[in-house]
Symmetry: C2
Subunit: 256 residues, 2 copies
């Protein structure tokens, strides 16, 4: 594919760094991105930004830093995103599939041909939190020395951006028939689902947090479409109404 | 291939950094190497080493730094090496073939299965010198944004080490029938060749430096075997002797 087509797709790719400790790593990540043609950097609550160290390490990728979007929450950083790829040091996850970069990047490009996607990196010390992992539809692990697997944050950004750029050289977009749901639509559904499960008394015998985690993973794997979200929320609404009607009839019958 | 076989091959791979300016980059390169299972770092005239910044950026790859070999010259750093891979920001070279990392790394593994190989990186600002390029049998370019192609040195080491590690996952060594010549054997031949060409008066009509550069490239592409070096040097010796005999006969005939 030509370089201009690639730029067009790369324009839909954002790199999201969560709670970065060292500003130098932010600048180095910006440089790594720009060498591979990526330009959209989002930061979730960085400890220091803007910062002279970030600028020094960017070494000419000042435009990336100047356009960086600083966010208060992961949901803000993932606004409009239809595919979130979480980077993990683990080879396996409880139930999410963990892919190698080379397997994942063609799928990332396929989505980015039409919708925003996010490459999500955790902190230098501990990576992504469980909550952050739960926002990802795909997890990626950079294969590494089992005795020393911790890549520098900017090095990880470099490897992933490089894999994306190399994948783009041979990428041919497939016409999409699906309309994937945006991050905020998925989150709206999850809230609705949790509220409904509370209302119908489902959580009286279940641990709500653990159950929601499992349901999140199920729907993350499914990669929900916008239409499907409407259907599922319709079911939830009817469930609650049905439940409300039952309650009303119960009150009527028992005269309470 | 198993992880132990990989370690065995990786034990024959050295990363050579020439005239590195910033000690932090040396430490970051050591970390990048170790995350991918590489351990042998050689430095040619680093500006500062050892240095606290190098140690800080190594972030646990102290063993790599402790075993680092500091050299005075490129020939010292390439002692015993049969394949030197030079990293270049250029997409093409006058006559050397320039490969992508993904094309080059299986060949590097193939050589490293039996003999030492070197991955050679130039300075942060200007990369490899022409003299250094002339010591390489293979040049590798990391594909990058044409408007901003300068990767951080440690990031480049990370990408190359990563490609080597990924290539090693599927690598199957082919039994080698050739005995490639070591770096110092090639250099010995080049000196012998240059001396001989002087003696026979070849350089009277040629620019010696440019001609030697061209001959170097020719033999770099050929990937000389140890036996072939012996043959070529034998030819050179006979040439000089023949020349000496001619001179002696001339002196005799003309009574000078």
């Amino acid at each position: 594919m030509g370089f201009l087509d690639k730029l067009n797709i790369f324009n839909k790719v954002r790199v999201v760094l969560s709670h970065t400790t060292h500003p130098g790593n932010i600048g180095a990540a910006a440089r790594a991105m720009k060498t591979m043609g990526l330009q959209h950097l989002y930061l979730i609550n960085p400890r220091h930004f803007p910062d002279p160290q970030a600028t020094a390490m960017a070494a000419g990728a000042d435009d990336v830093l100047q356009n960086t979007v600083v966010c208060d929450s992961i949901d803000e950083a993932l606004q409009d995103v239809v595919l979130t790829v979480g980077m993990t040091a683990r080879l396996r996850d409880i139930s999410n599939e963990v892919l190698a970069p080379r397997e994942a990047m063609p799928q990332v490009l396929q989505q980015a041909a039409s919708h925003p996607v996010a490459l999500l990196f955790g902190t230098e010390m501990s990576g992504l939190t469980n909550e952050e992992v739960s926002r990802a539809q795909m997890l990626v692990n950079i294969p590494a020395n089992p005795d020393f697997s911790s890549l520098n944050l900017a090095s990880a950004v470099q490897v992933i951006s490089y894999e994306l750029a190399v994948a783009a050289q041979t990428f041919q977009p497939v016409a999409q028939t699906l309309q994937p749901a945006a991050h905020e639509q998925v989150e709206g559904f999850m809230l609705h689902l949790e509220k409904t499960l509370h209302e119908i008394g489902f959580f009286t015998t279940q641990n709500p947090a653990r159950m929601m985690q499992r349901l999140r993973r199920l729907y993350a794997r499914a990669r929900l479409e916008a239409d499907e979200i409407n259907i599922l929320r319709g079911i939830l609404s009817v469930t609650t109404e049905y439940n409300a009607r039952l309650k009303a009839r119960y009150r009527q019958d028992h005269d309470v």
